[in-house]
């Protein structure tokens, strides 16, 4: 699944570590989501969408 997580994170000038801290996950998990190697669960996808104030489908596309 493709996503715009890296783009959104870079727009805000956050490092992977900073985003990981805000989402309460590890830096490696953020990296795995950004590189589309791991699709997050629905609760985590909601947390990401809430953090960036966007709809889930605006960030993640099948």
């Amino acid at each position: 699944m493709n996503n715009k997580l890296r783009e959104l994170r870079e727009q805000r000038g956050w490092s992977q570590g900073e985003l990981a801290e805000r989402l309460d996950v590890s830096r490696q998990t953020v990296n795995a989501i950004e590189t589309s190697k791991y699709d997050p669960s629905l609760p985590l996808a909601f947390r990401i969408a809430k953090l960036f104030r966007q709809q889930i489908e605006q960030i993640f596309e099948p």
């Binding site: 490696q28 998990t29 795995a32 190697k37 791991y38």
Partner: protein, 203 residues
């Protein structure tokens, strides 16, 4: 639940397993020579204490992990359980068929936990690689592998010194020195590998 940093987890496991090594070599053999039942039980079960602490640490680490880490832990534990099950059933069938001349079941049982840990680590490493998570050695969050090897080598040196100067036990001294040498060689290998990788990335 407070998240344990990988470095903190590595340090605690390393200390617990070092204590386990010392207890296995210095305390556990006393169980064979003890005549009373109570000291025999205490000597025999003392090495279990650091193992229980390690299992508790693992549980704490898994519970405080995020969803991807929990998934890799679960895959690792699944691999570990499968390997241990196969190992146990092999030994069980062979033992039931009286293939072994003496009763070696207890000797095999001692290897269940290390086998579980090794196969769990291998399974978790494979799962982590599948999700693009780097190997532990490259991760700055973890304690470098060569430090772990040198630390355990130093523990074996201490055990060898204790065995030589305290009890004069040549068998334990030579075993501990052999283990220390092998681990020191492993440590040197990881130092060289790390140096070569950093040199390659600079080029």
């Amino acid at each position: 639940m407070t998240r344990l940093t990988p470095r903190s987890y590595d340090r605690r496991v390393l200390i617990a397993m070092s204590i386990y090594i010392v207890l296995m070599i210095c305390v556990w053999p006393l169980a064979r020579s003890a005549t009373d039942t109570l000291p025999k039980i205490v000597y025999a079960l003392t090495p279990v204490v650091p193992l229980l602490y390690t299992i508790w640490l693992m549980g704490h680490r898994i519970l405080s992990s995020d969803e991807l880490e929990q998934r890799t832990h679960l895959i690792g534990l699944g691999v570990g359980a499968a390997v241990v099950s196969v190992f146990s059933i092999f030994v069980g069938f062979l033992g039931a068929a009286n293939v072994f001349e003496t009763d070696v079941t207890s000797a095999f049982l001692i290897w269940i936990f290390p086998l579980q840990m090794l196969s769990y680590a291998a399974g978790r490493r494979l799962a982590a690689r599948h999700y693009g998570l780097g190997p532990c050695d490259d991760d700055a969050d973890h304690m470098p592998t060569y430090v772990r090897f040198f630390f355990v080598a130093a523990v074996f040196c201490v055990v060898a010194a204790l065995a030589y100067f305290h009890s004069g036990n040549e068998r334990v001294t030579s075993f501990a020195l052999g283990m220390a040498s092998a681990l020191a060689c492993g440590g040197v290998y990881f130092v060289v590998r790390r140096w070569m990788r950093s040199r390659r990335s600079r080029q």
